[in-house]
Symmetry: C2
Subunit: 237 residues, 2 copies
Amino acid sequence: MSDPTAPGPLAATAALMADPARARMLAALMGGDALTAGELARIAGVVPATASGHLARLAEGGLIAVHAQGRHRYHRLASEEVAAVIETLGGLAARLAPPRPWKHGEAAREARLCWNHLAGRLGVALHQRLTGSGWLTPISGGWAASDEGRARLSATGVDLDRAMVASRFACDCMDWSERRPHLAGGLGREIASAWLDRGWLRRLPGTGDRDVLARRRVAITPAGLLGLREGLGLAAA
Amino acid sequence: MSDPTAPGPLAATAALMADPARARMLAALMGGDALTAGELARIAGVVPATASGHLARLAEGGLIAVHAQGRHRYHRLASEEVAAVIETLGGLAARLAPPRPWKHGEAAREARLCWNHLAGRLGVALHQRLTGSGWLTPISGGWAASDEGRARLSATGVDLDRAMVASRFACDCMDWSERRPHLAGGLGREIASAWLDRGWLRRLPGTGDRDVLARRRVAITPAGLLGLREGLGLAAA
DNA sequence: TTCCTGCTTCGCCGCCGGCCGAAGCATCCC
DNA sequence: GGGATGCTTCGGCCGGCGGCGAAGCAGGAA
């Protein structure tokens, strides 16, 4: 690892996020999907030629990973750490910027995805429920599941074995809208995946390319409301 | 709060950190001291005129706060949240950048300040000790002190009442060198302050203006080694 | 008052980087 | 093969921003 306070790397990484077009691309990729260069060009509001240059820089800098498939090239965020930095920096930026009306209503604050795990009020409430009840216990750098916690989570369809193989089983990711941590790591990913599969959550339709937050919004279904209350004692709003 | 995924604010805030001179200034301010414009100019390696412009932009953007005193103007980081973002972003940048030799030896990884609280191996070990032993218990968005924890910390000279008045009593701040959280918030600040006052820690002398990390390095004194072991059962390296 | 020091404002220059259109490859479909 | 689609590379334009020196404006000291 190089010196992180060496201003070079810090400034270089910040510069990758400092362009509006690249920021829009990164924000769109926070939805967790891998997107093609063309989609990202439309989202960023630039022609494909310009987008191609931006994506090359982001990949070169290590913020995104590229996967070629046929004549499409799919781009996704490179790692959980990149997602966490964008979420954290976005939260600071939102509080520093002059307050503007919240154009998404409350849906995005209620529940959304942060790369591949749950965020928003639901994500934070889940974190509080799991840690406050002792189902997750603090360990070095994250959380471990207690026996009771494993049983409860398995009953909601979460594959704990798959969650264990991640580099981190469970750790915190600062939520920009709630200013409290939500759950990230392998467990966070498996929870979001399982509950979407089982119909407890559903993705809300996007409203267009320029609405980068749209791809991230999810909603709790009636079945999810019931399941969360009965399975985890979680009274989601 | 405005929309944080609106790319405007995110890109604007990132741009403030995307210049090498400004990055050096921010890195220097991570030492926790308030520095004058002249000092920051020398640290950044630019003439005062240029530095003045940079500082105006950082203040305008809300990253730093300025305090005029006589003919000096003192600059400090605006908030804990700004420090956390710089620490997090710096960690990502360090891992993305091509690995270079660690020019500070191990001292900075061992113990350093992160704005006003302890970081490095010591900061992470302290966090693990306090949370793992139940002296801090998880609450919504941070940590609360148990009775036992309050007694232990008070015995080491920490003023818990002053720690309570902070907007956050105790919360996590991701440590770039250890990739694990250390303790921030009012408690983190009071711990660092108390142990420096009591001579358990001492600041290491800097090696020059261009070494931005130098202002952050601290070392455990023999008295501190003893006190941490006896008071908290913390076997610091 | 007079001088010195710390900092800011102003004017100018040079360069980096973002943007586009056009052209060049690659891949897939018919 | 021929044509459409997705993406990249190249060349040129232009705005923005970082750099400096000089001048201006406090605040403190003698």
